[in-house]
Symmetry: C2
C-alpha cells in the first residue's frame, strides 16, 4: 500500500512549493474570495463571522475510505459534507475553512490534484472559501485529509442538542440509511451495474446508495431554515439515527419516541424494495455517515415546508430518557470509532 | 508498532463518549473559558477576533515525533508551539483552537490523557482555549494530532512575508539551531546525561537542545511586539533560517544578506562549544523546527529592545534576490516535507 498503480509523479518528486503551486489554484477555481490574507503566508487573515460557529472533521484512508471504491473527488465531497453538516446542525451557514493534507511521499500528485479539484468545486458550490492549510508528510501508506470549517449564525441563536422539550415534534431532513445501504452493497461485493436504460430499478437504487456513501449530498441549507423556523434542538446524523437521537435525548433530558409507521412509510420502504426488511430497518435506525439533519420543533406548524428540502415528521419528544420506537425500547445501534 | 508496552486500557476498550469524558476536562484545567458553546455539540460557537488570523498544523507519529524520544506531553507542547508561532509571525495573539486526534484503536488511553493534560496546561499558559475537536480512529500504528488555531491582530495590520524593503534591518528573536542540534544528538545516539551537579556543561547543552527539539518554547509573545514596533516583514522559522529567509526574499522581491560575524557571535558560538564548527553552522543556517521569529525592520532604532525576548540583528535587506552570507551565495539547506 503505497504509490497508486499507474501514477507517474509522486509527491516525493516535487518540493512543497511545487506541490502548493499545483493545488492552490485548484482550491479556488473561481478566483480569490474574501480572505484578507489567503494561502501563502504564515497564517491566513479573514473577516470572521460574529459569533463564529467552528468545527473540524478528518478522513483517513483505509478507515474512512477505500481507494478501490472512492475517487479523490469523492473523498473531497464527503469531507466537505461532514464539516458543513456540523455547521448546519447549529443553524449556521459555512463561510471559510482551512485544509490539512498528511500524505505518504509516495502518494501520487494526481490524487492530490484530483482531491483539490473536487474540494475547490465543492467549496464554490457551498459558498466556502479555503483560506489556508497545512501539507505534511506521513509514514508509509498514510493519507489523511482534514478540514476546519467556520460559519455564521446570521444573527440567530445557535440550535443546541439540549433544547428539546416534551411535546416537541421530531423531524428529519434528508435521507436515512442510504450511506449504510451503499456500504453494505460494497461489502457484499455487489457488481457495479452497467449504466443504461435497461438497468433494473433495484440496481439503480443500489448504485445511487453506493454513490451517496462515497460522496453524500446532505441538505445543509435546511439547517439555517430550521433555526429560523424555531427548531428547539438539532443534530447532524453522523453515527446513526438512534445513536444521534440518543445524544439529543441525553443533552435535553428527555425521551425521543420514534414513529414506526412514519419511518416505514418515508424511509424504510424505499430501501425494502431492494434489501430485506430487517436489513432496511437496520440501515434506517443505525446507519452512519448519512449527514441528514434531525431536529425538534415546538409544534407541527413550525416544521419548515420546502419541496427542495422537505422535513419528515418521525416522532415526538416525551418525558423520560433514551430513544424508543412506538414507546418500546429500541436496540442501540450505530457507529463507534473505537469500541470493538 | 501498535499498543504501547505496559499500557492497560486501550482506546478500543472505551466508547467515544467515555474517551471524550476523560480528555475534555484535561483540556480545560482552569475551567471553561470564553466559548459561547464549547465541546459537546455539533460545533462550537465562539466570539472570533475581527479580523481573525487562522492557521493549522499537524504532527504524525514516526514522521514528526518518535515515541522513544518524545512523551505525549512533549508532542502537545510542540504542536501548540508550531501553531502559535504562525499566529505570532503575523503579529497576532492566539485565542482559540480546535483539536483533531486520529488514533489507532490500540493506542493507550494513557497516551491520549497525557497528551490532553499537556495541551491543556500549554493552552492555559498561552491564553488559548480549545473549544472543540474531532476524535477519529486510524489504521494500525497511526497516531496523528492536529490543531487549527486562531487569534487577534489587536487592531494592527498583519505583518506579511512580502513587506521587506532594501535598507531594512534583519533580526531574529529566539534561538537558532537548537532543535536541529538536539535532533542530531538523538540521531547520533548520544547517551542521556545523568542530571546532577557533576554533569559537564557540554552534556547539559546537548540535553537542553534535545529538550528543545522535543518541546520547543518559541518566543511567540515577541510577534505582536515586533508588529507594534513596525516590523515590515516576519516569518516563523520552521524549515531553517536560509530556507525561510528565502521565502521572505521571494515574497518581497529583495535579497536578504546575512551577517556572518553576527551569526557567529550570537548563535554559532554557543553550539560550536559542543559540536564541530561546520556542524554548528549547518544547524544555524539549515536547522528546522526552531519556531523562532525572523523579521525585518525599517531601521535599527525600531528593533524592539527586550531582555526577556531580545531581537538579534543578523543581516540587512538589499536589492536583488535570494539569501546571501556576507554577500556570498549560501548553499540552500533546510527541511522539505516531500522532496527525496
Amino acid at each position: 500500500m503505497s504509490a497508486e498503480p499507474g501514477s507517474r509523479v509522486l509527491l516525493q518528486d516535487l518540493s512543497e512549493e511545487e506541490i502548493l503551486d499545483r493545488i492552490l489554484p485548484l482550491l479556488h477555481p473561481g478566483g480569490p474570495g474574501g480572505a484578507i490574507v489567503g494561502p501563502g503566508d504564515d497564517a491566513a487573515v479573514v473577516t470572521a463571522p460574529e459569533p463564529m460557529v467552528v468545527t473540524t472533521d478528518s478522513m483517513i484512508r483505509a478507515r474512512d475510505w477505500r481507494d478501490d471504491w472512492s475517487s479523490a473527488g469523492d473523498v473531497a465531497v464527503k469531507l466537505g459534507a461532514q464539516n458543513i453538516s456540523d455547521i448546519a446542525a447549529m443553524g449556521g451557514v459555512a463561510t471559510g475553512a482551512v485544509l490539512t493534507i498528511t500524505a505518504d511521499p509516495l502518494t501520487s500528485i494526481d490524487w492530490v490534484e484530483s482531491f483539490a479539484t473536487g474540494l475547490g468545486q465543492w467549496c464554490a458550490a457551498a459558498g466556502v472559501e479555503v483560506v489556508g492549510g497545512d501539507l505534511s508528510s506521513a509514514p508509509p501508506g498514510v493519507l489523511q485529509v482534514s478540514l476546519t470549517m467556520w460559519g455564521s449564525l446570521e444573527g440567530r441563536s445557535p440550535v443546541l442538542r439540549s433544547g428539546a422539550r416534551p411535546g416537541d415534534i421530531v423531524a428529519v431532513c434528508g435521507s436515512l440509511g442510504w450511506s449504510d445501504a451503499g456500504l453494505a452493497s460494497y461489502l457484499a461485493g455487489d457488481p457495479d451495474p452497467e449504466r443504461g436504460p435497461e438497468v433494473p430499478m433495484a440496481d439503480r437504487k443500489l448504485d445511487s446508495w453506493r454513490w451517496f456513501h462515497r460522496s453524500p449530498r446532505p441538505p445543509w441549507e435546511a439547517g439555517p431554515v430550521a433555526a429560523a423556523a424555531g427548531a428547539s434542538a438539532m443534530i447532524d446524523l453522523s453515527d446513526g439515527l438512534v445513536r444521534d437521537a440518543g445524544r439529543v435525548a441525553t443533552a435535553s433530558g428527555v425521551r425521543i419516541d420514534l414513529d414506526r409507521a412514519a419511518l416505514e412509510a418515508d424511509f424504510v420502504g424505499v430501501l425494502a424494495d431492494v434489501v430485506p426488511a430487517d436489513q432496511a430497518w437496520r440501515h434506517v435506525l443505525g446507519g452512519g455517515e448519512e449527514h441528514s439533519l434531525l431536529a425538534t420543533f415546538p409544534d407541527a406548524a413550525s416544521v419548515p415546508r420546502s419541496e427542495q428540502a422537505p422535513w419528515w415528521i418521525i416522532g415526538r419528544v416525551t418525558e423520560g430518557a433514551g430513544v424508543t420506537l412506538d414507546g418500546e425500547p429500541v436496540e442501540v445501534v450505530g457507529w463507534d470509532h473505537f469500541r470493538r
